[in-house]
Amino acid sequence: MKGLPLVKIKNGEKHYLKLTQNQRVQHMFIMVTFILLVATGFPLKFHFYPWAKPMIEMFGGLHVTRFIHRVCGVIMVGQFFYHWYYLFKNMAINYIIPAKKTGTFSWGEFGRFVYYSPMCPRKKDAQDIAAFIKYALFISDDMPKHERFHWREKFDYWAVFWGIPVLGITGIFLWFPVWATSFLPGWAVNISYIAHSDEAMLAVSVIFIWHMYNAHVNYDKFPMSPLFLTGYMPEHLMKHEYYMEWARINRIVEKDPSRLLDLDKEKDAEMLTNQEKMELIREQIEFMKESTTGGKYNKGGSHHE
């Protein structure tokens, strides 16, 4: 089998792969550090609210929150760099190396490879947005047929792609102001503060409302989607929201049935009939009985150590 199965059948429903294990771990890192950064940073930004002080004290004081905030910031920026590495690695593995090895590399095709990679904004997204607006304004009843990541997810992705450098660079200026002012004017630190806290405000409002809505609480997924934990999406959602991706995966699985994992069938296979169960139980009783009465199984028991 090549990597994770694209489709899993469980409890009679097909589940489609949407996030690989690596992507889920990346998401987990960014999620945990983001929550901690907000929890330690917002009480400082909004120090004049009554909840600010209890929140700082809950962590154990300013020394602790400052430490947590800096550590999480470093991890988040580290992940940003890892993500660049991850992108280049995927380009190499999935196009450049095989293409060079087979002697068919061309820049044009490489461009198309990047253009059609899952997170790259392209013409289809503009069409999807237009279709969504038509749908939302009661002009049409047809919902856009999305690919693996629709435009909302791409927006989230690129917002973080822009946000981390802004927050990271301004954050490091605020962390080391003496170093920053050794080559920048003093007001650079002042605007760093404004940019850092305002950009954080934007990130928080977009993530906690827009992203949560799209990923978890919209009408179809309410109250929660397990996607970020399992990486798989049930067929009814997949077909409804990611029609193109649903069709694409079905095509692959049709060609290569080894990409499908039928857990239900496996489970059935593992199930014992009543007849088999009773046989097993009786045999074990027999075994226990023999061992206590000094039967044949008891001899040489000490060798087993």
Binding site: I56, P177, T181, G186, N190, D198, V206, I209, W210
Partner: protein
């Protein structure tokens, strides 16, 4: 005359100390002021409409730094009982106690002189608005402080040194009624950093957090802008030894009473000196001139700080623009979900 006077005090003190069970908590009151001023109800509404309470908590006074000063030592205009409304106390008065090392009468006149040299004097050349009543006198910042001896501070020296143990040692040579307790308190009180950071900020905030004052004197709201900095937040959230107003505005080694305008070249906040003030103990190391120019009292004001203004404006527009757009899309979608099959096209088709 003075000798006779001292004798009277001593005699009264000894008499009082032996007679009364409350000797430790009651100030020797040979002037008999407490006859009336011991009652919390001794109060009235002043002509300005403010409530004034004339009660003096003698227990608190006995533990205050002024405990050796008699009432008339400060309230010099009161000569008899009953008396008319007393004048506001002038702290530069020479009071009836002498300094420890000489026979000179003690007074706070040196500090008053320093205050006169500072920006807090209405006649200072850098004052923007010469409104005498807005300028602070001693009692605007200081109340009568009580002696604090924190035994924990001495524990590092010797773990069993409680106040009582120390006094026991003193009493081996000195008489019980002698001044060692007073001098002990007098010195230990000053060992520790006297005011907690938040108290310093609170004191300055009495005036510098008021917008009307800032407007009159063509200043910024120094307290609120300070509280928006990391320094202010550190104080607010209880970080020990966080930098307060005086850490930046008082030059190293100078009296805190001599705070100068940032326009005066001797000032800690003068542009060319400013970064040196950042280099205090436990503060920033190896600072540069530009570091000193990081603004600590920022207001978002187009004319004053254009860079900050435009950056703040750009980010506000970005944040609200993006967020409102997304909210709008979500609301539209929810409305659409309420009526799943209600499009115009279908109507036309159907």
């Amino acid at each position: 005359m003075r000798i006779f006077f001292l004798f009277t005090i001593m005699a009264a003190g000894i008499l009082f100390g032996t007679l009364s069970a409350h000797a430790s908590s009651i100030v020797p009151d040979d002037e008999n002021c407490m006859m009336c001023h011991k009652y919390p109800g001794l109060s009235r509404v002043s002509d300005e409409g403010y409530l004034r309470q004339f009660y003096v908590d003698s227990d608190r006074y006995a533990h205050s730094v002024h405990t050796k000063v008699k009432c008339t030592g400060c309230h010099v205009d009161i000569k008899e009982i009953p008396h008319k409304e007393a004048k506001i106390v002038d702290c530069s008065t020479e009071c009836h106690i002498t300094m420890g090392d000489s026979a000179k009468p003690f007074s706070h006149s040196k500090i008053v002189e320093e205050l006169k040299g500072s920006i807090h004097n209405v006649d200072n050349e850098h004052v923007n608005a010469r409104i005498a009543e807005d300028f602070p006198t001693c009692t605007d910042c200081h109340s009568n402080p009580t002696y604090r001896f924190i035994t924990d501070d001495v524990r590092d020296v010797h773990d069993a040194r409680t106040q009582d143990k120390i006094f026991q040692k003193c009493s081996v040579c000195h008489d019980q009624d002698a001044s060692y307790k007073y001098y002990f308190n007098h010195v230990t009180h000053r060992i520790k950093n006297l005011s907690a950071s938040e108290d310093v900020v609170k004191t300055c905030s009495k005036c510098h957090s008021r917008d009307d004052m800032a407007e009159k004197h063509k200043l910024k709201n120094a307290a609120s802008t300070y509280l928006d900095t990391f320094h202010g937040k550190a104080v607010e959230f209880g970080m020990e030894n966080a930098p307060t107003c005086i850490d930046c505005h008082v030059r190293d080694g100078q009296s805190v009473h001599k705070i100068l305008s940032h326009k005066s070249p001797d000032s800690a906040t003068y542009v060319e000196n400013r970064y040196k003030s950042c280099e205090g103990e436990g503060c920033h190391a190896n600072t540069t001139r530009e570091f000193g120019l990081i603004r600590m009292h920022v207001v978002i004001d187009k004319d004053l700080y254009p860079v900050e203004f435009w950056v703040a404006l750009a980010f506000t527009v970005l944040t609200l623009g993006v967020f409102f757009l997304l909210q709008g899309l979500m609301v539209l979608e929810l409305i659409r979900i309420m009526f799943p099959n209600l499009s115009f096209r279908r109507k036309r088709n159907g």
